[in-house]
Chain length 201, copies 4
DNA sequence: CATGAATGAGTATTCATTCAT
DNA sequence: AATGAATGAATACTCATTCAT
């Protein structure tokens, strides 16, 4: 009976710290973010921070996972709302890529992550994201191409997801200098996805 | 007549420092690489290091560029030897990807770079590489598909190059845990390349 | 109730660090005084030093101010004990100058300051001292020469205070080589003071 | 026969180095002046610099002496042109002080010296200057007050010269914040000089 | 559990000076 | 005598982490 409130408090604390980390990162940039800044922003003592996270790395790792979750559910929501199952692959892919680009450009934290991917534990963000997109893509395929060979599918999706994610990241990193438009990028990427997955029979 | 040996010396020093940087990086990992370590490894005083590079960042940047060059020429050589122009796209792509993977796995420095891409100025490596592959791909296309629409080509190559590079990098980062074989990865990637570039007419 | 001990601790720390600075300065000379030396001498970690002073300069500045305070109160005490208001200007000036010289020669820190005025933020010492002597002189004048024109007074005091301070400092710097006795110096200086301030009516 | 050109070259070199030091000091400020900067400015190798001056200190010392000489001759010239012997003490003192202030404010090097007197071997400048003013004042007194007691004179001049020099320096250091005008300062200082030296009989 | 004062290892960089050529 | 490449000691300051209260 005592444990539940404790866990709740604990969860709230973790929450608070992660939000503080996100906020500090977005405001000051990774370079200028210290554990003490984070504790301050969270309105918590530095000692407490270390009660909940063994070290800075763990904090960053947890944040990346959390962001991964947010992105996932945001995508899921959107895709569901869109009733994506009813559209053809090209349309869905194109739409989701554009949505993703927009989401990143809107969020200062996402911005900072993209700019400091050097120095952030990006795997912690990408690994779950990879799994998520896999889990999202599979039902789609079950629906549209019932007899699609699953083993092949997994490998192809692995490749496509990473390809798309990184190309978008890199595009956004060097954006001001690039001539390609977002629309064109999305177009090519979704073409690529379709081309690899759904070759004309 | 006197100046040439000077320039030579200077070049040698730069060379030596870059090699020392590479070695230190490969041995101690980026985390534990200090400018003093590098100078030591180069058998040179720390003061000299700073005579040739304004700061640590410049050293790392230069190293990345140098590696990019090495990779480029290594690929070019290989591709030329292979007379790649005579082979179909699928074969060339597949071969070069496998060659690249092997090259990375053979080179401890490449290994370290892949593992610490966090913290390394990866753009300095990727930007030229991107250009290089573009320059390598274009003649191939001129030869094989004379009537290929060039504007599309550039965008597609941009996407494919980044997609391939990153997917390979990511594959190698998480390799021990992955079930996919290198051959399969290469296969899928080259499929993807062909699918996007050379749709069956 | 809890905060007072904290503030006390803080004050003690500042105290300790300033004393350590003074001691290190006196012992090793400014040239050879590092922040780490100071922290060591204070029996405190270098990190703590920087928790209380933003940088070395601030430490030195604070020390100068502190010394200025010490000198001021020492003078004030002495002058009060002496009931200087009851004596004529020449006597008071002469006495205080001799007292100052003696105080400096007795204090190894003062010695070091005089020898390394190069490299010390002397203004931080002189500005308040100037003000102090001004504040000390004015009541005296109000008392002795009620109808003394105040505006003139301020300018003259500014000149006299700086003149006296510096001449004494310079005298002490080059003392071993000088033939003039302290008494003579004090005599001339007090003569000068009287001559400028209190011309025979 | 060979030695004379050598000495000449040597002299020129010293000259050049001192001028380079002065220029570098004036342009970059003491803080940012390195021996290498100086050698560069002089158009001479750093090795040569050390052929003529054992270390940086010696260079600075020499510069201070040289400046002292310049100031002396500049004053002497001016005073002579003015036929100062024919004027009364107050006028001469007042004029020379104003001239000095102006000379300093006109010369960027003088400016820098005043601002970095911390860190410069000021004694090297002041000692000769003190002697110079002494030597300049004595004939004046011989002329005007033949029966002036010489021993007293020396002590008084010592005090007055230092007083005046420092008060002016300090005034110029804190000038922007001061309300007193240059004229007033000169006025008080010359009053002080007259008051101490030439009491109304 | 919370606090936050204290810790101290760790590091990039400067610059006066030397000495082989 | 001149050169200038090479030297390397020396130092201020940061920040993740601990632990006594």
């Amino acid at each position: 009976m005592r444990k539940i409130p404790k866990q709740k408090r604990s969860r709230e604390m973790v929450e608070r710290l992660l939000e503080a980390t996100a906020a500090t990162l977005a405001e000051r940039g990774l370079e200028d973010t210290t554990t003490n800044h984070i504790a301050d922003t969270a309105g918590v003592s530095i000692g407490s921070l270390y009660q909940y996270f063994p070290d800075k790395e763990a904090l960053l790792d947890a944040l990346m996972e959390r962001i991964s979750d947010k992105i996932s559910s945001s995508f899921r929501e959107h895709a569901t709302k869109l009733e994506y199952v009813n559209f053809d692959l090209k349309t869905v892919a194109n739409y989701l890529i554009l949505y993703g680009i927009d989401a990143i450009k809107t969020d200062p934290l996402a911005q900072e992550i993209i700019n400091s991917w050097n120095s952030l534990p990006l795997e912690k963000l990408l690994d779950p994201l990879e799994k998520f997109f896999l889990s999202m893509a599979q039902p789609y395929f079950v629906h549209h191409y019932q007899d699609y060979p699953i083993q092949h599918l997994e490998g192809k999706l692995y490749v496509l997801i990473n390809s798309t994610l990184f190309t978008v990241v890199r595009y956004l990193q060097s954006e001001p200098n690039t001539t390609m438009s977002e629309r064109k990028l999305a177009h090519i990427l979704s073409d690529m996805i379709v081309a690899l997955l759904a070759p004309q029979p």
